[in-house]
Assembly symmetry: C2
Homo-oligomer: 299 residues x 2
Amino acid sequence: VSEAAGTTYLDRLAARSAATGTVLCLGLDPVPTALPKGFSPDVHGIERFAEQVLEAALPYAAAVKPNLSFYEAFGSAGVAAFERLRAHIPADVPVIADGKRADIDTTSARQSVAYYDALGVDAVTINPYLGQEAVLTYIERPDRFAYVLCRTSNPGAADFQALRVATHEREDGILTAPSEPLWARVAREVAGWGPGGTVGLVVGATAPAELRAVRTIAPKLPFLVPGVGAQGGSIDPVLAYGPVETDGSQWPGGGLVVNVSRGIASAALEDAAGSVSGDLQERVAAAARSWSERLPVLP
Amino acid sequence: VSEAAGTTYLDRLAARSAATGTVLCLGLDPVPTALPKGFSPDVHGIERFAEQVLEAALPYAAAVKPNLSFYEAFGSAGVAAFERLRAHIPADVPVIADGKRADIDTTSARQSVAYYDALGVDAVTINPYLGQEAVLTYIERPDRFAYVLCRTSNPGAADFQALRVATHEREDGILTAPSEPLWARVAREVAGWGPGGTVGLVVGATAPAELRAVRTIAPKLPFLVPGVGAQGGSIDPVLAYGPVETDGSQWPGGGLVVNVSRGIASAALEDAAGSVSGDLQERVAAAARSWSERLPVLP
């Protein structure tokens, strides 16, 4: 983990956001068939490419989010590559492992050990379908953090997330939730989970109206926002409604992280003819800096 | 993968169910703090224990389901242990990797490579929250199989799965789905996914009424049923409504697998004082045989 026990994830993220002036989260999702010339299309190639992207883009990133699937695709050798990559990320940069997990209680307990201890990451992504009980092991540690999937960025997200669920009433007849889409109910429920400061939401930039609505339902939950960059989501609504509603001094950046993965890594491919390592890293650094400027910490 | 391309997962499962006479699925979920004497509470201990349970119980199991979290808890060393364990499972025994995954399309494509190719399993478990698009990569291969979470076995399952969702109408006003719980809508939707024979459902034995209702909604979807054994679910409703509605000759066992993990592994602990390896395996084999007899392939 990035820092000694005693600091929270949100404190570490705020410090890094203040230092870099951005809410940009660097996605590290290397695909062996989409590497520049000079990188082998195997686990060695994706590891070396991820290292070069990390090294070049890190100065412009508030956090780093590797999606574990891209490493797991190579079995234990890929997970070992992830472990080496993680070891190269400095102590002051929060690392979010994107695995979209959750399981029944006893299993979730081993899962959180896998992410928080074996892989040593600061935060994770969690799927809400199994309920609060399946998430508790991820949100009870005061120095770690879980982003629960709320409204994802993919085209198929609406299949179930947009289904309208019934009102909820307490036993005494008081209405506690209106009829609303499932993503809204997830946001409403998650707002009551955990000890505070250890849980947030994944809300895609590709659904700006939903993102604004989720901010209203859960004014204090930090957002991880995928979907800008290659997926085409707009930035303005993310900067307007992404940060939590505080006076700004508590958490520079408002607890927001906005992930860009292919939008930065693809810069490595631009000069496909005879590119060399130095040029590649310059292009990646320029892309990361550009994204960091488009995703500033607002005053 | 267990068999050469050209056979389907359901054919392989049916052949194994016919050969063993049972729908028992052997869960292999070793916890380092719950090992018998003589096993170290680390990755070596859980690997050796899982191997001994596998060896003793395999003759009585139609399939094997390791939950990956118990291996991932040891990082790349744990995944390497899983790979060795998987290599010890004979070619005629279907292996289900329980990971409860799914992601956006390009990421899911790498995930299915991780499970089907790097780990070499026959089937997986999938979380439906991201929609059909996120699952396609798992169900398009004719020789593999995905069980989509429908009604899980854990106490928190009802948090979201039991929410009542609105009716669905086509544009011409025809009602295509009634107002029903989310788990029912998931079953109804998944029944239309994939080319046929490559997708099923996870339905917990701890919710027998829901299991019966899901069978009515999706008469042809094979079930993976967790929740008997340590979780306390009843067997009778599972045997009554678990198999698919066929004439029985097509798939002996009706595509059903019923997972027991702690209910078998805990037999290793029974004689804690001075147990030796041979006795341990005899107790595990006896427990597995007992479960296999309680979970027969019905004529």
